[in-house]
């Protein structure tokens, strides 16, 4: 257990030593400060009476638009939380992948791999410890931002939306899915750049796959199976965004399939990466 914990700590510490993670922490702190101090909600007897953003006053009706439903306190809370969750999901994961992509190739580089793999710890545990270290570092950062926004908004308004916290799990979970691709390319090629290209490429492809209902019926008999094959095997990163939004809005999720298929992709990819890692020579 001690060697595994040691590896988690080294990975965690290594990730936090990177300037981009420090940058994410600083940006998250600024967001929390903005939510805490720049966004002022005037609540009178439990109802929203006014909103001030950076000192500029706006009537709730103005923010909702002419045709929109009246802006309630809970809608403002959900809107803020949805925006933060969406930004954390897209920009946060892209930056987190960028920050962590070189960790696994570094671990396997000459002079590092020998030191690590000569210790009394099996390769499967090395892989597991590394994954846990990366996930926990990103999880801590996501918890700091999303948990912080949730806590501040809830304390300021008295509107508690616990389902929003599920989006935190989705952000970390989908990061873990995309990091599987980085690790697989890391084991195969020891290339940071290729890991990033493949993971970002999968995200780009998921944007196309997200339009499956529109694209699917237009395809021919040869291309249709290929398209749907990709839809069911590759991570549905873009479609999971909708689940994150729905959860942040506190509504019921229609289908968990995009998340489940993405998690299966991640699990299978980690499995293949693990097999190669155990088999290869250093």
């Amino acid at each position: 257990m001690r060697p595994l914990l040691g590896l988690v700590l080294i990975t965690f510490r290594e990730l936090w030593a990177r300037k981009i993670v420090l940058g994410l922490f600083i940006v998250s702190s600024l967001v929390l400060l903005a939510v805490a101090f720049a966004l002022n909600l005037d609540v009178v007897e439990g109802s929203l009476a006014g909103i001030r953003l950076f000192g500029q006053e706006a009537a709730p009706e103005d923010l909702g638009g002419e045709d929109a439903a009246p802006l309630t306190l809970s809608r403002v809370v959900i809107a803020v939380e949805s925006v933060v969750a969406g930004v954390a999901y897209w920009i946060g994961i892209l930056l987190a992948l960028f920050a962590s992509a070189s960790l696994f190739p570094d671990l396997q580089s000459e002079g590092r791999a020998e030191l690590l793999l000569s210790k009394p710890i099996g390769r499967v545990r090395v892989l597991f410890g590394h994954m846990l270290g990366v996930w926990s570092a990103i999880g801590l950062l996501a918890t700091y931002l999303l948990g912080g926004v949730w806590g501040i908004m809830s304390l300021k308004t008295g509107v508690w939306n616990p389902r929003f916290l599920l989006s935190l799990l989705l952000v970390v979970g989908m990061f873990a899915v995309m990091y599987a691709a980085v690790m697989l390319m890391g084991v195969w090629t020891e290339s940071t750049a290729l890991g990033l290209i493949v993971s970002y490429g999968l995200i780009f492809v998921s944007m196309v796959l997200a339009a499956a209902d529109q694209i699917g019926p237009t395809l021919g008999p040869l291309t249709s199976p290929v398209f749907w094959g990709l839809y069911h095997t590759l991570p549905n990163f873009t479609e999971v965004t909708k689940i994150v939004s729905v959860l942040a809005e506190g509504e019921a999720v229609d289908s968990w399939y995009p998340l489940v298929s993405s998690l299966l992709f991640g699990g299978a990819t980690y499995g293949v990466a693990g097999y190669w890692f155990v088999q290869r020579d250093f």
Partner: protein, 313 residues
């Protein structure tokens, strides 16, 4: 039980996109290292030294044969519990201080917090890194990094220590310090497996050596045995009368002729067997020649090594 035993070990690397190209790195290597030995593995570049060491450490999978450390299959976590390793070009995370590095790698080696707290200051002191515990590793010189590498390898108090070019790139003072530590470890009963190109260093510290050439083990034995020139002896004695030197004895003045004492002269004896050697001694004693010493002639390890690796296959 030997500290290390290898039997018919072979390794073929497969390279290329379809892994069709092959490189035979080791072929049928068998050797044994007893506990308490300082074992030097020698060979020219590409001979298979690093591959053999990596198989023993579990970094490379063998294609055939077996390797065991203290009776355990090499490469298993159980076998690695009793070993320490200093790679040739090890890299520590630069953001750690020396103390943090030792704690981090000590944890990986399954050393308890209490043991780490006790041993780390001792090791820093022993390896002349005291006062550097709170210094970032990225500021360390090559020699300091080598000593820190040795410290991390010793944290779990290993019974078998693998050193891959431990003095590579280190200045003479640093080399001396590392050599002294290796000798201290030998005195503590540790077994040391040394992979080095610095033959003068190997000659000074190793009790046993093996030479690999093209993936095959071509020589193995003690340094004394292997470097002894067969049936040729250096004789140190009082001057031998010319009559005896001109007689049909396998005796001649030594080529360099230097002797530590002006009363003594150095000669060379080529005796094909023990009886001839004893006949020479008897004739000298009959002629009242005082014999100071008779020692087997040795060549330097470097000369021996070059003879072996240059010999036709």
């Amino acid at each position: 039980m030997p500290a290390l035993s290898v039997s018919s070990l072979s390794k073929t690397y497969r390279t290329g996109l379809l892994r069709r190209s092959t490189v035979q790195a080791l072929t049928g290597v068998s050797l044994t290292v007893e506990e308490g030995a300082i074992f030097g593995l020698l060979g020219p570049n590409g001979a298979g030294k690093t591959t053999l060491m990596k198989i023993l450490l579990g970094l490379v999978h063998p294609s055939g044969g077996t390797a065991r450390l203290f009776g355990q299959p090499a490469g298993t976590p159980a076998a690695r519990h009793r070993i320490g390793f200093v790679p040739e070009n090890h890299r520590f995370p630069g953001f750690f201080t020396a103390t943090q590095t030792l704690h981090a790698y000590g944890r990986l080696a399954d050393v308890s917090t209490a043991a780490r707290n006790r041993r780390i200051p001792q090791l820093l002191d022993r390896l002349a890194l005291d006062g550097r515990g709170d210094t970032k590793v990225k500021t360390f010189s090559k020699g300091m990094l080598q000593r820190l590498g040795l410290a991390q390898a010793l944290l779990n108090e290993p019974d078998l220590l693998f050193l891959d070019e431990p003095t590579g790139g280190v200045d003479p003072v640093g080399r001396r310090a590392i050599r002294d530590i290796v000798l201290d470890l030998r005195d503590e009963g540790k077994t040391i497996f040394l992979n080095s190109h610095l033959l003068s260093e190997v000659e000074k510290v190793c009790t046993q050596i093996a030479i690999l050439r093209d993936g095959t083990l071509v020589r193995q034995g003690s340094v004394e045995e292997l470097t002894a020139v067969d049936r040729v002896y250096d004789l140190l004695a009082t001057p031998i009368p010319d009559a005896l030197l001109n007689a049909e004895l396998p005796l001649s003045p030594a080529p360099d002729g230097s002797a530590p004492d002006s009363e003594l002269h150095q000669y060379r004896v080529r005796a094909d067997d023990r009886a001839t050697l004893n006949t020479v001694v008897d004739r000298l004693r009959d002629a009242d020649v005082d014999i100071e010493s008779i020692t087997p002639l040795r060549q330097s390890l470097e000369d021996y090594f070059i003879d072996v690796v240059d010999a036709p296959a």
